[in-house]
């Protein structure tokens, strides 16, 4: 598990502060803010920033997300968590107790409007705040598409850097959950990877979720953070209770191998690990890469791996055509063409709406991945 030392977080803060709204505030604002900070910071404990000093607790991904939100709100008094039903703890229980701890002004429900939530968050972030908003399901993110694509993504560019909404973090549970059907299962990440100005992050374990979410919140760019909702309850591991970050834009090599590189993100990483185990029984050695950040993605790590193994398999739940796997395959083919021993392959969701009864066939299961690994190795 790659853990960054506490200094990383301090650096993150420095950047965040420097990139706040660059125009000066009148003196009375500064004074007001200072007094509010004093009032609010007595609950934060800087000594806890270092993972070395912090205790660990067994957490599932929902606990880990909660822990990250709590840490962020402690560290940054100018932060708010909001969205539909977040006040009572959220439908996935990721915001439990935040309202009673930080007050109704910093953790609150909004009316039911995704474009409203994101647009409101943009305005808050434009004033130098950390706006951490929740879209209840990634399937319902589309009404906010305009705000994300035309506003959040372009805020810094179009103003020549005068304004930015780096404080905006947009969380949304995504992916299959066994019974979600068309509207509680989608993986819309590729839409947002196609938008310059947005960063897209997807964690694959509780530890990853906490470190990446904290990094996303303090990242000076707007981040879309998709949480694999299957993992909220099914995954659990020891996670530091204090603050730590995992840098964006850096992939994680989960296990090294010689014959083929498997790349995925979120819940699919678990499927790849399962497939790799099955492949090992058949004598195939897989290198597994968790991409973590999709935009901007870690070309260096993936290309270095393919140069070693000579084969690439990318897998995601989202439909095959136009999925983000296509981007990886194209780039790796260009950069590592002469190393390739077989055509890069994608094992993905079907080009259909997400089904209900036939979910297990739609999904890129471990067995489908295994079949593709075998074909690739035997090419």
């Amino acid at each position: 598990m790659i853990l960054q030392p506490s200094s990383r977080l301090s650096i993150g803060f420095g950047i965040g502060l420097a990139l706040r709204r660059q125009h000066s505030r009148p003196a009375e604002h500064v004074a007001l803010q200072a007094s509010r900070h004093d009032e609010a910071t007595n609950i934060s404990a800087p000594a806890k920033h270092s993972p070395q000093n912090s205790r660990v607790a067994h957490m599932n991904m929902a606990n880990a997300v909660h822990s990250a939100l709590e840490a962020a709100m402690e560290l940054e008094p100018k932060s708010c968590v909001f969205g539909e039903d977040v006040a009572f703890g959220g439908v996935f229980r990721c915001t439990v107790g935040l309202q009673s701890r930080f007050g109704k002004n910093r953790c609150f429900n909004t009316p039911l409007s995704e474009q409203g939530i994101v647009g409101f968050g943009i305005g808050l972030a434009a004033m130098g705040w950390k706006a951490i908003c929740e879209i209840q399901f990634a399937d319902y993110i589309y009404p906010a598409f305009d705000q994300m694509v035309n506003e959040a993504a372009k805020y810094r560019y179009r103003s020549g850097g005068m304004y930015n909404v780096g404080g905006l973090t947009l969380r949304a549970p995504y992916g299959a959950v066994g019974h979600g059907g068309a509207y509680h299962s989608q993986s819309p990440e590729s839409f947002f990877c196609h938008v310059p100005g947005l960063k897209v992050v997807i964690p694959s374990s509780p530890m990853e979720a906490k470190g990446l979410l904290l990094a996303s919140i303090f990242e000076p760019d707007p981040v879309v953070f998709f949480e694999p909702k299957m993992m909220y309850r099914t995954s659990a591991e020891d996670v530091p209770t204090g603050s730590f970050t995992i840098p964006l834009g850096k992939a994680r090599v989960i296990s090294t191998g010689q014959d083929i590189t498997l790349v995925g993100w979120g819940q699919q990483v678990v499927v790849l690990m399962e497939a790799a185990k099955l492949a090992k029984q058949e004598g195939v050695s897989c290198e597994i890469i968790d991409l973590r950040t999709l935009q901007p993605w870690d070309r260096e790590t993936v290309i270095a791996s393919v140069e070693k193994t000579g084969r690439l398999l990318v897998s995601h739940e989202a439909p095959l055509t136009g999925g983000f796997g296509a981007e990886l395959v194209a780039e790796v083919t260009k950069k590592a063409f002469t190393s390739l021993l077989s055509p890069p392959v994608r094992v993905c969701g079907m080009d259909t709406p997400f089904p209900l009864v036939l979910e297990s066939i739609y999904l890129p299961s471990a067995l489908r991945v295994l079949e593709a690994i075998k074909s690739s190795v035997l090419y």
């Binding site: 803010q33 609150f108 409203g116 647009g119 409101f120 305005g123 972030a125 035309n150 506003e151 304004y163």
Partner: protein, 405 residues
């Protein structure tokens, strides 16, 4: 005073008002009945100057665009009172989220002719670095968030900003401008509801100017204008004659006070008229009569008449202001035209806080391309030393652009 002024119901070409706020008649005569304190002489003169300057700038810039000096322009003719009158009622630190026809607000806040001109030409001194079409102004110094073309998106940003100001216990509010066409967008409905439910000090200033490009209001909505949406959301609203700078100023002053007092949003619907075309890409004679367009009384003349009747302004001052302003604007436009464009690296910067690896790669590829094909670089665009840094000599060989001036 406002309550009194609001008793004056009135009818224009298009609007039959349930109630309205009007203090000057169509010619600019005092309608009477106004209690003191009225608009001060200082504010009145500043408002008038900003209105007149906006009108003159619009005239010159419109003509300049027609002559092909830059690609696009839109005037605020007919709406100078709505924008400048409301700007005068705001504090200079109130965060403004504008739609796109609010040059009067910037003018009142002191945005220089040079800054307007730099933006129109997209030169290297433009704060937006030449990335948006003309008229997409922005100024963090003047608390004026950069304009974007999509409609009504800014209304939600204004809510979020107002929430930040509320949390900071600021004495500032956010002020949001939008048109009656934009009010039909989903974001507008969400914004009014969010603002009311979350209790934010936000002043929504609607410029109901009768047209969304060619679409008249009777094809835009069926209900009682935009005011009715405020009531439906549990928000106070004031309807005012948007051609009457004095009434707009009073309505907005009152609304701002209420917004701060109750930490609540308020909507002011300015019934105005878009006397000009939608933009330089539009010809309004295709969908409305010249008679209609010319019938709307000029807000600048109306307000000018009033300040003259108060003895605060003279014909000599008027002539001097117009002459001086025309000269300043012409100079600013010439100056802006002569400046270089932002350098090539601005294609890649500000997408993210740091230039990401894929963008660094594309930057290097672009440089190699333009070294081979210098004619592809638009005239006036420099490739400055920082952009060349890190390139080896082979990449720099043959680099020169004969088209640069």
């Amino acid at each position: 005073m406002l309550a009194h002024a609001c008793k004056h119901g009135y009818t224009t070409l298009q609007y039959v008002l349930v109630y309205g706020c009007r203090m000057l008649d169509a010619d600019g005569n005092d309608q009477g009945g106004t209690e003191q304190p009225d608009m001060s002489r200082d504010i009145a003169l500043r408002v008038y100057e900003a209105m007149a300057k906006t009108q003159i700038m619009d005239d010159i810039c419109y003509q300049s665009q027609r002559q092909g000096r830059f690609s696009f322009y839109l005037t605020s003719a007919g709406e100078e009172a709505a924008t400048v009158g409301s700007a005068a009622a705001l504090a200079s630190t109130d965060e403004v989220f504008a739609q796109y026809r609010e040059q009067g607000v910037l003018m009142y806040r002191g945005f220089s002719f040079q800054k307007f001109a730099d933006q129109l030409y997209g030169n290297m001194f433009e704060s937006g670095k030449g990335r948006q079409m003309p008229i997409h102004y922005g100024s963090s110094d003047l608390h004026f968030q950069t304009i974007s073309s999509p409609l009504a998106t800014q209304m939600l940003h204004a809510c979020g900003a107002a929430y930040a100001l509320k949390m900071e216990q600021s004495t500032s509010i956010s002020a949001c401008y939008f048109g009656e066409g934009a009010a039909s967008e989903g974001d507008a409905a969400a914004a009014l509801n969010f603002a009311a439910v979350l209790g934010v000090p936000c002043l929504f200033i609607c410029r109901n100017n009768g047209y969304a490009i060619s679409t008249p209001i009777h094809e835009q909505y069926k209900g009682d204008g935009v005011c009715a949406r405020a009531f439906a959301n549990g928000m106070i609203a004031i309807r005012v004659d948007g051609g009457d700078a004095r009434a707009v100023y009073h309505a907005c002053s009152y609304a701002r006070e209420k917004a701060i007092e109750g930490c609540q949003p308020i909507l002011v619907e300015c019934l105005s008229y878009r006397s000009g075309h939608h933009s330089t890409s539009d010809d309004s004679s295709r969908y409305r009569s010249n008679f209609e367009a010319l019938s709307y009384p000029c807000p600048v003349r109306r307000f000018g008449h009033w300040i003259q009747s108060k003895g605060w302004w003279s014909d000599e001052e008027e002539e001097a202001l117009r002459k001086h302003t025309r000269k300043q604007i012409s100079q600013a436009l010439s100056e802006a035209a002569s400046q270089p464009k932002p350098d090539l690296s601005n294609l890649f910067t500000d997408v993210y806080a740091q230039v990401t690896p894929n963008l660094q790669e594309q930057m290097a590829e672009t440089l190699q391309f333009v070294a081979k094909h210098p004619g592809m670089v638009p005239p006036g665009v420099p490739i400055n030393p920082p952009f060349l840094r890190g390139m080896d000599d082979s990449q720099l060989v043959n680099w020169s652009n004969g088209d640069q001036d």
